[in-house]
Amino acid sequence: MTDLTRLTAAALSEKLQAGDISSVEVTRAHLNRIAAVDGDLHAFLHVSSAALETAAAVDAKRAAGQTLSALAGVPIAIKDVLCTYDMPSTAGSKILEGWVPPYDATVVRKLREADLVPLGKTNMDEFAMGSSTEHSAYGPTRNPWDLERIPGGSGGGSAAAVAAYETPLALGSDTGGSIRQPAAVTGSVGVKPTYGGVSRYGAIALASSLDQVGPVSRTVLDAALLHDVIGGHDPRDSTSLRDTWPSFAHAARAGKESRSLAGVRVGVVKELNGDGFQAGVHSTFAEALELMAAAGAEIVEVSAPNFEYAVAAYYLILPAEASSNLAKFDSVRFGMRVNPLRGGTVEDVMAATREAGFGPEVKRRIILGTYALSAGYYDAYYGSAQKVRTLIQRDFDAAFQQADVLVSPAAPTTAFKLGEKLNDPLAMYLNDITTIPANLAGIPGMGLPMGIAPEDGLPTGMQIMAPARQDARLYTVGAALEALLEDKWGHTLISRAPDLALAEDFAATEGVV
């Protein structure tokens, strides 16, 4: 008797290929789990009505002897920032309520071509602006470890969905940490690929020079398997890289099997392990470093003096790009339209629509971006922020001379309480202090479970960063660290999450085969 929702995507893949289980059984188990727990969690904004039908079609292909991809028949959740032609795509905003795009994002098309089964769309901060999912226009997602706490953001829905066994896999997007920080606070895994490694076509843009789509999962190997499906050049994204990528699943398996870090130079970024971090984040980070050293890693301290300016540069570049990207929500071609009481010109209609359709954080950042791009301020703010970006890239270049990978905590604290930082924008912005530098430099980063903070019993996350285009290194080192930690603990971290009360008894039995 196996609860199919507890299996990893890799394990489901093996059982599906062996014919032990069907995709319909797997999909039904996850839909039942969603029905049982999502009333409390609110990880999903939309659950697909076509999932079982899609799963049956995959089972039919397999029965007919077709050669299928490794993840064929495995369910997946999709962050609502990604366009799906058969499901609403709102990016967590009222202005796009009910909008069904006429096309799929490239990453979604690739999922369908690889026969994964889309379960639905996951909740997020509106237009991915936030670190707690509290800025969703549809209400917050809750953390499966403690329903009174935030699941991180902006991809809190995707992270909570995998952490609560509603799905083995999900897609996220990461502009300043929106994949890695939710992973840290929910005890799951998330990867921001090298900028340009995964297509952004059909991802509703927040900040085009920072956004990157990536995998969300419970294990490093599962993230790698999904990255192999979604990665690669896309002529529809002019910033897409033409590189030929190695198999990330192969890289993850190598790390998992060797459990060795012999000869790997691991750089600890001095500036990303600061005084303001929570005690349990410090202590679990130190323990993980000891374990890495014992496995043969050479631990070196590196300094990145300009990281001090990263958050400031980010909160100029992001609002500037976002204010431009969000100009397309003009009440003409898609989304909401609000007509002012006494009528008016098309511009009056736009202004009334945007007033009603955007939430407070979106308005805040659009106004800030408009200010930063104004004549007279452009050089001092946006121009300076772009120079800081150069300095941060130089810091990374220097650090990677001394180290093969860089590490830091993936978030400065464990999950905080809902509402705790909602009225203090600056405090909220500082949640991404450890993740923002990688976006500014375009390099890949991974968040993965590191331990449990003794003071509050909540998960902490490790961040691993590699030079641009060296995503495979994250998977090898990440999978080795994951295996070493689990050997030491004698269990996975996510298995320590409290059982969510099942809302309905039938769901509990239906989910078991």
């Binding site: 003009d330 007509n339 106004i367």
Partner: protein
């Protein structure tokens, strides 16, 4: 403390086409002042000799062949519009009475 005023925020809101209420303008004025004070530090290190980076991994000459690609049909393009006449998006007057 930076010099952000309510008049400035009202002007920015007009540029950004958001009909903010007076309460929102007042609240944003205070918040923006605090945020801008904290992000203005970028100018401390951004000296004249440092080049700007606009894209993390620069690419040049990203072209495609000049041929007709796969595009949306008119019906698809209009499918999400708040108002249309079957072949065009419908909007209210472009010009106001005084223009």
């Amino acid at each position: 403390m930076s010099e952000i005023t309510t008049e400035q925020v009202a002007h920015l809101a007009n540029l950004a086409r958001i009909a903010l209420t007076p309460d929102e303008i007042a609240k944003l004025t205070g918040e923006l002042g605090v945020i801008i004070d904290s992000i203005a530090k970028v100018s401390e290190v951004a000296t004249a000799d440092i080049p700007a980076t606009s894209h993390p991994i620069p690419l040049t000459n990203v072209f495609r062949p000049d041929v007709v690609g796969e595009t949306l049909t008119v019906e698809q393009a209009l499918s999400g519009a708040p108002e249309h006449d079957g072949s065009r998006f419908k909007v209210s007057a472009i010009l106001g009475e005084e223009q």
